[in-house]
Amino acid sequence: MKILVCISHVPDTTTKIKFIDGKSLDTAGVQWIINPWDELALTRALELKESSNGLIDHVSVITVGGPDTEPTIRKALAIGADSAIRVNAAAGDTFFVAYQVAEAIKNSGFDIILAGIDSCDFNGSSFGSMLGEFLSITSVSSVSGVNFNGNDISVDREIDGGKEILSCPVPFVAIVQKGITKEPRIPSMRGIMTARTKPLAVVEPVACEALTEFLSFELPKHKASCRMVDPENVKELVELLRNEAKVI
């Protein structure tokens, strides 16, 4: 069996977000990373491969992005992915991105496809379900576990106030979130060395129009300054919450 992990290349989560003329992200000094969910998904994919007694023999990653995303892809290879695909196009809206991934992999026979719940740039929370529809396969969202159950795969899905354990025949897309694994793996020295020689296929995009367009960006208005309450007079806080903020 083969696993594919979809990877999005995003600004580091501590980035101080600024825009140029409100039109595009000011990328000066921005560190680019693998979207945190995708890093966890990749880690889980490798854990599954290692514990599968050979049942899973290949973990691949894919990203839709320009040549500037290659260091991010190489990092995924250094962490342990066996091969990578880059669809050579700037990531447009999620419809465009998911369509490109679907077209690039539709005949590749991936059994399990992992995507993150949310990318920390445009926070679309929509890629995985779109991909499932484009490929006409099941997509399961809010996934907090993918496990072996003999030769079967079971998927944990978070629901309000608990979780469901699903049996889910391959192929499927699992949209992963917290719980999928504990800590993301970091590249080892050996991983970094071998990453250079692992296959990275670059494929050209197919024709597809984005359905939405980002017109402009803005930063939130600064909150009026914090109103300080004397620690010796905690009652005042309760008064304020009741009479001024009206939240209790």
């Binding site: 920390c120 469901e164 949209i175 359905l211 939405t212 367009e213 909150k223 914090c226 300080m228 903020a245």
Partner: protein, 323 residues
């Protein structure tokens, strides 16, 4: 032509956020000289369904089939697609929750209808159709245009006021022949946590960070939450250390919540933490360090020791509640 909402019910009831969604859809319908209708798949019963009429929904389509019990996005989208076609809907709106995030994108791909998720306000214009959404983990906003005829949105929780407007909605049974060959998943087991206020539903959340120093010190957080009828939450290191269950972790890599009131106790206010709670209406911070970043985003603050402040706050709240 009608604007459609997907009205999710749980155990035969709608949550308040569904009524927010209805209010929002009714307002957008007004802008588009249209009406707002709802699709209900959970079989909540006539009386509950009629409640949607209090928030401007003029017609309700009720669909029920055993196979929708196992929530599968492909199956549900068959139903929604059929309604969109039958009612000629130019706009479909979901909640931005687990269900909406599973359905809206699948429907978007199916109908080739442009989707914007996590929308926070009414469209600034409907021709062209432009809405504002959160981006960069709530650190910024973007204005986004949808270019297709049929449009899909998910609405961020707590971003639109409940607005009453009485209608007397007709309830229609809706039925279609489902292609059940698409249903591949089955539920083997359900594990429920019971008896607690759901963190993602809670209007008030009391949260503790590393400043609480250890699991043995959590009682004041629990007591304050109880006094306020609130849910409890924590920062990531707290759940990583196992001081509190993982289900309580809020932040960019945990749950994303938008309560009316968030009380942060011994939490520094790291950017990833705020990614999960930045949409709270009112933030209260209790921290002994006056320079903690949490005070930059808090509305009310107390610089002090949580172990001194919390007991006093608990008794002040109890006193207030007793009035």
């Amino acid at each position: 032509m009608s604007i459609l909402i997907y009205a999710e019910s749980r155990e035969g009831m709608f949550k308040k956020s569904v009524f927010e969604l209805a209010s929002y859809a009714a307002a957008v319908a007004k802008m588009m000289n249209s009406q707002a209708i709802a699709l209900v798949t959970g079989n909540p019963g006539q009386e509950e369904m009629k409640k949607l009429g209090n928030y401007g929904i003029s017609k309700i389509l009720s669909f029920y089939d055993e196979s929708v019990k196992v929530f599968d996005s492909a199956i549900c989208c068959q139903v929604i697609e059929a309604v969109v076609k039958k009612e000629n809907c130019p706009l479909v709106i979901f909640q931005h929750n687990n269900t909406g995030k599973a359905l809206a994108p699948r429907l978007s791909a199916r109908l080739k209808a442009g989707l914007v998720t996590a929308v926070i306000s009414l469209p600034e214009s409907t021709k062209p159709f432009i809405v504002t959404k959160k981006v960069y983990t709530a650190k910024a906003f973007a204005r986004v245009a949808i270019k297709t005829q049929v449009k899909i949105l998910t609405l961020s929780q707590n971003s639109y006021m409940l607005t009453e407007s009485k209608t007397d909605p007709a309830i229609e049974q809706f039925s279609i022949q489902l292609d059940k060959s698409q249903l591949k998943i089955s539920v083997k087991e359900v594990q429920l946590l019971t008896g607690k206020i759901l963190l993602t539903d809670a209007e008030i959340v009391v949260s503790g960070g590393r400043g609480m120093r250890g699991p043995e010190n959590w009682q004041p957080i629990i007591d304050l939450a109880e006094a306020l009828g609130a849910a409890t939450a924590c920062s990531r290191p707290v759940s990583d250390e196992g001081w509190r269950p993982h289900t309580e972790h809020v932040g960019q890599t945990g749950k994303i919540i938008a309560p009316n009131l968030y009380i942060a106790c011994g939490i520094s206010g790291a950017i990833q933490h705020m990614g999960g709670v930045g949409s709270a209406k009112v933030v209260v911070a209790i921290n002994k360090d006056k320079d903690a970043p949490i005070f930059e985003i808090a509305d009310y603050g107390i610089v002090g020791d949580v172990f001194k402040v919390l007991p006093e706050l608990i008794s002040a709240v109890k006193e207030h509640k007793a009035k």
